[in-house]
């Protein structure tokens, strides 16, 4: 099912949690709603599920306007961060609950519950209560309960954040597998960029209730729309060198580097910008424009993670281990074409 958010706004008494948010999510995809804590992800999800009314705007499921529809009529499945299993019911009881409210006959109920339990691998736990399950198992049961009524849309609100690191990796593969098996359109909320990058078809990145970019994961990384997107994605984080543009070249504020790249042609003189460079986009070059000092070196197999100092500005770069960098070396660096961006320092807007 295609989901269309049309200029959605949500105002609480003292904050606007989501403002003028428009996006289209494709049928059958797993979309990550990504952003730092408190940016309005849950609020947006709750408007999709009908728990919260919108202040403004419209929501469409395919061509149906569901903005005013109560939650039970939207045909969605929802998994909360705390799983929200009914503690007094067994796993079977939990999974059957949505079918009971729909008055599905008992035999069919059991058949469907068993089938979905097999899919999420909890079929051997049917008679346990939630308190007798591990976090990962509770998670699976919650997903089974959300899926058993064949929802048009599956919503997951930070489903992995209560799990320990190893289980988190495992469950994210699981969610991907289950989503692909069922083909259900899924929205997955997370504040973890790595999680988002690894499982989603599309990522919707937001900040303070405002959409930043809605794109393929690799596009978010390779073509960030603004400074925030560039900063939010990538580990280690992107390096930002402040400077100004003058005569089609970038003059670093720290040190006295002058970077000439076609990138800077056509930018007005005196504009304050950040030159933002991914760690893998530096190369050693005796004629390079950035003269810096090596402050730390970490071995990482074939590559080294080197810390450089350029004036007052620190940055990190992956350098081929064969170069044999030592702390205290003075070297010159040049930039590759990929992974190099210019952002306006005031507005954060990308300058191409």
């Amino acid at each position: 099912m295609r989901v269309v958010l049309d200029h959605i706004t949500k105002r609480f008494a003292d904050v606007t949690a989501v403002s003028d948010f428009s996006a289209t999510l494709n049928d059958g995809e797993l979309v990550c709603l990504l952003g730092p804590s408190g940016c309005g992800k849950s609020t947006l999800l709750n408007m999709l599920s009908g728990i919260l009314p919108v202040s403004d705007g419209k929501i469409f499921f395919d061509d149906e306007d569901v903005t005013m529809l109560p939650p039970e009529q939207r045909g969605i499945g929802l998994v909360f961060q705390n799983y929200a299993l009914y503690p007094h019911m067994t796993v079977l009881g939990n999974i059957c609950f949505p079918l009971e409210t729909q008055h599905v006959p008992k035999e069919e109920r059991l058949a469907r519950a068993n089938e979905i339990a097999k899919l999420v691998h909890v079929d051997m736990l049917m008679n346990r209560r939630p308190a007798e399950l591990s976090g990962g198992q509770q998670q699976r049961v919650a997903i089974a309960r959300a899926l058993v009524k064949n929802p048009r849309l599956l919503l997951l609100d930070e489903p992995l954040s209560n799990l320990d690191a190893r289980l988190r990796l495992e469950m994210r593969e699981e969610i991907r597998r289950i989503q692909q098996r069922t083909g259900v359109t899924t929205i997955f909320v997370t504040h973890d960029q790595e999680e988002a990058m690894s499982i989603s078809d599309h990522i919707v990145l937001m900040k303070l209730g405002v959409l930043q970019q809605n794109d393929l994961p690799q596009n978010l990384y390779n073509e960030p729309a603004n400074q925030f997107v560039a900063d939010f994605l990538g580990n280690p984080p992107i390096n930002n060198l402040p400077g100004t543009v003058s005569g089609g070249a970038f003059i670093t504020e720290e040190g006295d580097g002058v970077v000439k790249m076609p990138l800077f042609e056509g930018i007005a003189d005196g504009r304050k910008v950040n030159l933002s460079v991914r760690s893998e986009s530096f190369v050693l070059d005796p004629d390079g424009p950035l003269a810096c000092e090596v402050t730390r070196v970490y071995q990482m197999g074939k590559e080294e993670m080197a810390y450089f100092k350029l004036g007052e500005c620190d940055f990190r770069a992956y350098i081929d281990a064969d170069e044999g960098l030592k702390v205290g070396n003075r070297v010159r660096l040049n930039l590759k074409k990929r992974g190099v961006f210019v952002f306006d320092r005031e507005t954060g807007e990308r300058i191409k």
């Binding site: 599920s49 728990i51 939650p71 499945g77 929200a84 009914y86 007094h88 609950f97 409210t101």
Partner: protein
Amino acid sequence: MERKFSKFLIYLVLILGAIIMLLPFFWMFTSAFKTTQEINRFPPDMFPSHISLNNFQRAFAMAPFAKYFVNSVIVMVCSVGLTTFTSILAAFAFSRLRFPGRNAIFSSLVALMMIPFEMLIITNYTTIVDLGLWDTLPALILPFTSSIFYTYILRNFFDSVSDSLYWSARIDGSSNWRYLWKVMVPMARPSLTTIILLNALASWNSFMWPMYVISSDANRTLPWGLQVFTTEAGSYPELLMAASTVVVVPVIILFLFARKYIVRGVARGGLKG
């Protein structure tokens, strides 16, 4: 050494307290089996010389205790059932439903808890008389069909249940009504058990109100029937003790079984989280 000594002191005080508490019950029990001569003897004997149910038979012959017992049970079942039902609904409304003045109404209800029941007796009495219910069993039930205190305890429990459970149920197609009875009530079982037990005890032991609104023998409950019996059996304390034993024993058994629920439920309902 010091710790052992303070422990010893604590237990000594507890044991003394227990003896003081239990002594009247012990006296009631043993006296219920004594003969008239034994009970009037001074200094008194600790135990009867032989066990006989004679006193019980005589006491039962003097007053319709079976009738009192049935009345007590009817009143208890009806008022506990109704109170529990209304408290559940009210607690759910105050905890979950949004309506204007919700908090103001709840606060004023809680404030009303300060008014002792004795102060309401006159108004309740006139109401019962006006309704033409004086000297009937409904007069014993009607004023006890709701409880602010139990509503308060339940609401605290309901408030402690995560919102996400409610929304999960709603998204799964549950109405408020279904959510209340299928999810909330089963989850609140410990609190409910407490409430029901406390309420049952209060109803079973209720004395003052029945005394005002019941006069005929056929409509008396056990405590009130027993009271009348004290004057009729005034010169036979051993019969009184036998009758009292019959009234008290069910309560003691109930309490022993339910002790842990009562303490646990009150502690849980009072705290949040």
